[in-house]
């Protein structure tokens, strides 16, 4: 089975699945580039910042730190806050590794733990295949970095209504990831509905709306998933499904 051709095909399959993710990333990172430009980030800096960070909320928070020149400790804390959900995703991903998998794959796969790439990896049954994951990573990485670059260089050229339409692409992809499992599993459905409701309340209630979106995501994720895990622990095999 594990012939060269088979591995090559698996890689290409990943590249194919990475395209819609990359297309959404391009739109988002384009607007991220506009934020970066306001912080005095050059095109090349923005390109590499995006290539090596690959985090929407994390980079957004990071560029705000740069704009205010708030110090390196602040940069670490903001990054930690905005991106700590990747810690949880990495934990979840390790549970799907083949015990025989080579160690270097762990170091490389860590580069590509983003919400959508993680989602696509998890959506595949069985052990994570590093070749598929690397293929999956290629287009999103290129498009995410070059989107930031273009946003910095020519952010104000696109008409506002086009930017507005493009900016929901990423959420459309989130929906496509969460709805199919929610249809099959009532607890996941409940989690999704509770998440929508609480997230809405947190962002709109005057007392809570001061919390930035990274922190809100962190707090609500821990509370809702924690409650679900306490009330509806999964059966032994379900966590692998």
């Amino acid at each position: 089975m594990d012939t060269k051709i088979h591995r090559y095909r698996t890689f290409l399959l990943g590249v194919r699945d990475g395209f819609p993710i990359g297309a959404g990333y391009f739109a988002v990172s384009f607007s991220l580039g506009i934020v970066a430009k306001l912080s005095g980030i050059t095109g090349a800096q923005g390109f590499f910042a995006s290539l090596f960070t690959m985090a929407s909320a994390g980079e957004y928070a990071g560029f705000l730190v740069v704009r205010e020149d708030a110090g390196f400790l602040n940069m670490m804390l903001m990054t930690l806050l905005a991106s700590c959900r990747y810690f949880l995703m990495s934990c979840a991903l390790t549970q799907r590794f083949d015990p025989e998998m080579k160690f270097r794959h762990r170091l490389l796969l860590a580069l590509g733990v983003t919400d959508e790439i993680f989602g696509a990896n998890i959506a595949r049954p069985g052990y994570v295949d590093p070749r598929y994951s690397y293929g999956l990573f290629v287009l999103p990485a290129i498009l995410w970095s070059s989107g930031t670059l273009l946003g910095i260089l020519m952010g104000n050229l696109l008409p506002a209504n086009i930017v507005s339409a493009l900016s929901v692409a990423i959420y459309g992809m989130f929906v496509a990831i969460i709805i199919p499992p929610a249809k099959k599993n009532r607890v996941i459905l409940g989690c999704v509905l509770a998440s929508f409701a609480l997230s809405f309340l947190f962002s709109r209630l005057p007392a809570l709306s001061g919390i930035d979106s990274g922190t809100r995501i962190l707090i609500l994720s821990v509370i809702i998933a924690g409650a679900a895990a306490l009330l509806f622990p999964v059966k032994e095999d379900a966590a692998h499904a």
């Binding site: 980079e59 990747y86 993680f118 929901v168 692409a169 989130f174 496509a176 989690c191 609500l220 622990p233």
Partner: protein, 99 residues
């Protein structure tokens, strides 16, 4: 130069967040609670990030809400990532012309 240092700190911190579990977790987690927690967390996080952010991302919040509904309906019928994303964009574009 200071920008470059900031970016290095940002990228380095982000990598550490992602790689630490990969380095520390070498075997299957036994705790049923933690396994359940990790099973639910991605769906919760993605849902929290989607709403109401999808409304705030558009010029007109109602268009964003419509894009969400269109995406949910399409996903319920089994459409994949790309069609759902495209339909969401089109919904916003069309609605913002009308609204």
């Amino acid at each position: 130069m200071r920008n470059v240092l900031y970016i290095l700190v940002m990228a380095g911190t982000t990598y550490l967040i992602r790689v630490l579990p990969m380095l520390l977790l070498r075997r299957e987690i036994k705790s049923r609670f933690i396994r359940s927690f990790l099973f639910y967390i991605p769906y919760v996080t993605l849902a929290v990030m989607t709403f109401p952010a999808i409304m705030d991302a558009c010029e007109k919040p109602l268009a964003g809400l419509a894009a969400l509904l269109a995406g949910v309906v399409l996903a319920l019928f089994g459409a994949g990532l790309f069609p759902v994303a495209v339909v969401s964009c089109v919904a916003v574009y069309v609605l913002e012309l009308i609204l």
